[in-house]
Amino acid sequence: MRKMIFTLLGVGALLGTSYAAQANSVLILEGYQAQAQMDDPAFREFSAERGQEFFSQNHTGGKPQTPSCTTCHTADPSGAGQTRAGKTIAPLAISKTPDRYSDFEKVEKWFRRNCTSVLGRTCSAREKGDFITFMKTR
């Protein structure tokens, strides 16, 4: 599996950044998969449905201004969002913004911030994996 991923990465680099980005996002998901299994040995696989529910629902425990991911990203992941200060956010769906979920540091930074703002805690590897899996279907 590892080997395949690295081959994929190499081919991706040759074919262009959008393929490399896809290969990177595969690697990032692999990492969350391993972590989720460590957190819970019974864990099997990520689910786009769970990701969708997590994305859409109103959470408690976070800041009052931001009850949901949709507060800024809107209910439609393939449309643009808006920050509270009025700046446009490119869609979260990979089909619309191909370089999403390809830079591990960026992904972790925004999960850390946005999960703290919305849920008042960090997100688990499983929540992150479900979320990205959902965004790949969009």
């Binding site: 920050t83 009025g86 703002s117």
Partner: protein, 157 residues
Amino acid sequence: MLKVKALLWGGVFMMSQFSVAMADERYRPIDNPVVEKECGSCHMAFQPQMMPKRSWEKIMDGLDDHFGEDASLSADVSQEIRDYLVANAADAGWWSGKFMRGIKEGDAPMRITEMPYWVREHRKEVPARAWDDPKVKTKANCQACHRDAKRGYYDDD
């Protein structure tokens, strides 16, 4: 007499050159890519020339609860940004920028939009209904009204 006139015109010419140079100096476009990236993702990265050092220090000390949001950064990135903001703050040069007008010593507003100079400039010239335009959303959305804000131009409209 002729000499005096020439001197006078020379002076006027020099003054105009000087004020052009000042205009460029006032709110320089941000030339640090880290600041541009990290402070420009939720709103335009604001030019440091618009608040005093003490305000930027306070902002950088409180990024984990930044106007109701978590905007925290790793320690080294945060330090680089802090250094840039402080080095270019309204009170960093040998002259104080316009934004220092009317601010009390020791006051450290957390918002540019609460700086006395900003308040005065916008009270005079902006009709109340302009703020209700849904495109504006908040006073902090400078670009809604100042299209070239990122390049440091605020007197265009």
